[in-house]
């Protein structure tokens, strides 16, 4: 059975279901469960649902130590930039312990944070910093783009025996979609074809999936059939699904909300240059944020971040290119 649910609620549902299923799952973060009336606190008790001080290093580091010794912590970090305060723990502690110990210890934890908040949060609260994390061996990075994925990827992240950075997009929080009621786990590292098409492959994550799907609708009216793929996790990165798609379409557009030089798109472009070049009939194109910080004013913000129009125009320009080896 499935029912309509908001993206944000789907995440909360996954956490509650996993906490119900596994007593080793604990949840803590700042400004969380502040009163006795908190439903999670009521349900799971104050041992497993805790309020934390503004101490990102300790919050994340405590999760590492707790995970090494048998718990499965979820740390609510609220905004991905707050992780920068604790980057040693996230980059250089959590994903290293299993490896450095020669496989003896495991670090099953979830660092949960929102990102990409394009609603006037300006320079320090709107960014996309997943590129910095997707290349760290041992760390997994999940970015759901739909309510169903939000639930399935959270359940998988909690069950995974590795540290997972779970990044939910703030602009999708209120989006509704069908979400399976019962246990629903999406394996990490498997891309999803969000729309099938034959002329061009668009790869996007998070909010950009929604923008790309809207662009694909518009392009369909022009007779251009776009396939939209969401990798869903950037680490592990499912390049095979992208290669399979461009075998069919021969064209690739990468849409990414991050600045061009710190985008996942740049990494995917490199992989396709090596593993998919022979299938391409036109050069790969990237639609990313400009290499600028996110400005406060709406006109400025819109200019920096990719939108439906930029995607449509980019697709048209790729379609207009002559075949590479015509």
């Amino acid at each position: 059975m499935a029912r309509e649910m908001m993206y944000g609620d789907a995440i909360a549902a996954a956490i509650a279901e996993e906490m119900q299923r596994d007593p080793n799952v604990v949840l803590y973060g700042q400004n969380l469960a502040m009163t006795e009336r908190d439903p999670m606190l009521k349900k799971f008790g104050k041992d497993r649902v805790r309020i934390a001080p503004i101490s990102e290093t300790a919050e994340t580091g405590i999760a590492v130590g707790a995970a090494m010794t048998g718990l499965r912590p979820i740390v609510e970090l609220w905004m991905s930039e707050f992780m920068l305060v604790a980057f040693d723990q996230i980059i250089n502690e959590a994903p290293r312990m299993h490896y450095m110990s020669g496989g003896q210890v495991k670090v099953p934890l979830v660092f949960k944070a929102g990102y990409g908040f394009c609603a006037g949060w300006a320079g320090q609260h709107s960014n996309c910093i997943y590129h910095t994390m997707m290349g760290i061996p041992g760390l997994k990075v999940a970015l759901p783009s739909t309510p169903a994925d939000a639930k399935g990827l959270m359940a998988a992240s909690i069950r995974d025996d590795n540290p997972v950075v779970y990044l939910h997009h703030y602009m999708l929080t209120l989006d509704k979609g069908e979400v399976p009621d019962d246990e629903y786990v999406i394996p990490l590292g498997v891309a999803d074809v969000k729309r099938a098409g034959t002329d061009i492959t668009i790869v996007a994550t998070g909010w950009m999936v929604k923008k790309s799907l809207a662009a694909a609708e518009q392009l369909a009216k022009e007779g251009i059939s776009a396939e939209v793929i969401d990798p869903r996790t950037l680490a592990p990165l499912d390049i095979d699904t992208v290669v399979r798609s461009i075998k069919k379409t021969g064209r690739l557009l990468l849409v990414d909300q991050a600045p061009r030089h710190s985008s996942a798109a740049a990494v995917i472009a490199g992989e396709i240059a090596e593993h998919g070049f022979e299938h391409l009939r036109a050069p790969v194109k990237m639609v990313t944020a400009l290499d600028a910080s996110i400005p406060y004013s709406e006109t400025l913000e819109n200019y920096v971040v990719p939108n439906e129009d930029k995607i449509v125009q980019a697709v048209r320009s790729v379609m207009a290119r002559q075949a590479v080896s015509a």
């Binding site: 580091g61 707790a66 502690e93 496989g103």
Partner: protein, 341 residues
């Protein structure tokens, strides 16, 4: 609480102190006897033996031990085979971590030693997290969190102690003040020290007990830690015990770029500050001969016992070196084995 300590336990303390010292001296000799065998950076705990063993003499069987990267001494007390430890320091296949960790990253979770961090202070948060596990799962374990004076200036220290105090976590924070943060004397960088206060004063910031103890005396350390451990076991939360001693070797081997071989320099007191007098004064307080003399004058240990303990430790370490040198290197393609669990 602590009963009167038995002679057997006193000899146990002395034996482990000697075993740690022999291991560390052997690692140090390796830089001369087998140049190039030890790569990267190794850090020795000679001088810390009384503090390490005195602290761990209060430990119950399943209590967790989580130190920093200066981590050789603790697993020796926990019973980790020296063969596997030395093979790890030498980067061999039979190493404790199969050659993936090296000197800074020993881990033996089966002996309640989950692993260490090479980044100063960060493991304080890990130990605090291990205490969270003990509390949530009601295992009855406490965690011994060891770190140096340098680490007590890290944000991880302040954030972790605050959270441990708020959550009343079962952890003992063992601040090993060996007087040098890498190369810098602690009086140059610690606000408490500059004001003439002990470093344990930091505990006041979290409203938890803080005490400073002579870290060259294992019995004094044991008594101070025992109170902290009892408090942790009783669910009353963390304590800070500053154990003041002197690191007898340099911070670590010299950082060299190949093909220059790694080697151990003189202690910073001499090499950096030209203060041979300070070094000699502390060398005279070396905890091992002092404790041996005390046990002998108390009639706990005979000269013959002492010689036997030392000889056994030497043999154990020599055997470990032979084993480690004979152990093969890991297969190169194993390098991608442990990326994901």
């Amino acid at each position: 609480m602590l009963n009167k300590i038995s002679n057997e336990r006193l000899i146990w303390i002395y034996t482990h102190m000697v075993r740690i010292r022999e291991f560390e001296e052997s690692v140090k000799r390796t830089f001369i006897e087998h140049p190039g065998v030890i790569r990267g950076h190794s850090h020795l705990g000679d001088g810390a033996e009384a503090s390490i063993v005195g602290t761990l003499s209060t430990r119950n069987e399943k209590d967790l031990v989580m130190p920093s990267y200066r981590c050789h001494g603790y697993p020796i007390v926990l019973g980790t085979p020296m063969r596997a430890m030395m093979a790890e320091v030498f980067g061999r296949k039979d190493g404790l971590c199969s050659g993936f960790g090296g000197s800074m990253h020993l881990a033996d979770p089966s002996r309640y030693f989950p692993g260490t961090s090479g980044i100063i202070g960060q493991s304080i948060a890990h130990a605090t997290g291990a205490a969270l596990t003990a509390q949530v799962k009601k295992t009855g374990q406490i965690v011994y969190c060891f770190f140096g004076d340098g680490a007590s200036k890290q944000g991880a220290f302040f954030e972790s102690l605050n959270m441990a105090a708020v959550w009343k976590l079962p952890v003992v924070y063992a601040l090993e003040n060996n007087q040098y943060q890498a190369y810098t004397h602690f009086r140059l960088e610690d606000a408490n020290a500059i004001a003439g206060h002990p470093l344990s004063k930091k505990a006041e910031a979290f409203s938890i007990p803080g005490v400073t103890v002579d870290g060259t005396d294992p019995i004094a350390v044991r008594e101070a830690v025992d109170q902290a451990a009892a408090r942790a076991r009783a669910g009353q939360g963390p304590s800070l015990v500053e154990s003041k001693f002197y690191r007898l070797s340099a911070h670590g081997n010299v950082i060299t770029v190949p093909p220059l071989p790694t080697q151990f320099p003189e202690h910073e007191a001499v090499a950096v500050y030209g203060n041979k007098k300070e070094y000699e004064e502390w060398k005279a307080k070396d905890p091992i001969p002092r404790f041996r003399a005390k046990l002998m004058s108390d009639g706990v240990l005979t000269g013959m016992d002492a010689s036997r303990i030392e000889e056994e430790a030497r043999n154990e370490v020599e055997d470990a070196v032979k084993f480690a040198l004979a152990s093969p290197f890991p297969a190169a393609e194993d390098a991608v084995r442990y990326v994901y669990a």
